[in-house]
Symmetry: C2
Subunit: 155 residues, 2 copies
């Protein structure tokens, strides 16, 4: 099993408060579906797939467009990020602090951690400038093996 985050409930409620706040700031409605999807995303604490979210929704709301609409809303408001290499979604740990997030993902246990840092931002900005690109966003996904998984004995 994956070690449960000790402060897990704390994380979820913090994320929900952030959601509340962001929606208020952006003059957006934080509806029941959107709430529930954000909650589900935070409950796993790992990248989760759209159709897995679907399964966790009650039957009445459980259709693809419902989930994708909620996801797109959350993505648009910076509350969630998409991991493109996995076709999966994960909650943002610090919305309102940045426009984009970088991730380092363990191929073994599936954890994805934000690894945003200013050095990375700087080099990426330089790279964009060197190529005369404007108005850019960046997606960086590093996939490797985390320390815990590297140390755990092979099955």
């Amino acid at each position: 099993m994956t070690q449960p985050c000790t402060e897990h409930k704390e994380c979820i409620s913090k994320a929900m408060r952030e959601g509340e706040r962001v929606c208020q700031d952006n003059d957006q409605r934080f509806t029941a579906v959107r709430r529930r999807v954000l909650e589900i995303i935070w409950e796993t604490h790992k990248p989760i797939k759209a159709y897995d979210i679907l399964e966790k929704l009650s039957d009445s709301a459980g259709k693809p467009p419902t989930v994708y609409r909620a996801l797109n809303f959350l993505l648009g408001n910076g509350l969630v990020h998409k991991i493109n290499t996995l076709n999966a979604y994960i909650g943002c740990t610090h919305p309102r602090e940045h426009a984009q997030c970088f991730f380092i993902i363990c191929k073994v246990c599936g954890t994805a951690t934000e690894c945003c840092n200013s050095a990375l931002n700087g080099i990426i900005q330089e790279t964009a400038k060197k190529h005369n690109f404007t108005n850019y966003t960046a997606s960086l996904e590093i996939q490797g093996v985390c320390e815990a998984c590297a140390n755990s004995p092979p099955s």
Copy 2:
């Protein structure tokens, strides 16, 4: 229309020679299907989708598994890269020189250019180290507006 690359035929034939060479080095067979798929990929000079490659193959070979098998072969041998944010594939301009490639992609005209550089590699390596990750690969995709598109008058 997209401006044709003046050295276009040159690019294709160079890519094919590279393919030849890489397959030889890796003791792999550069079959007709694999050749043709690599050629199609280079003919567009832009990220191309699997099903668009499919359409350009003759009917006899035109089934999804054929294309995906060829793509996976080419990816595995470093002759092609996948652009995850676009679900598309593009030829590598310098196989054998690096394990991974970074891309800067114009949202308007669709061109994707490799923007690998050692500063980026360095920071990414540092980031992986800081998180105690080993055995990593990185995917970086910068999406913005290229100079030409920024300067072209709005329609």
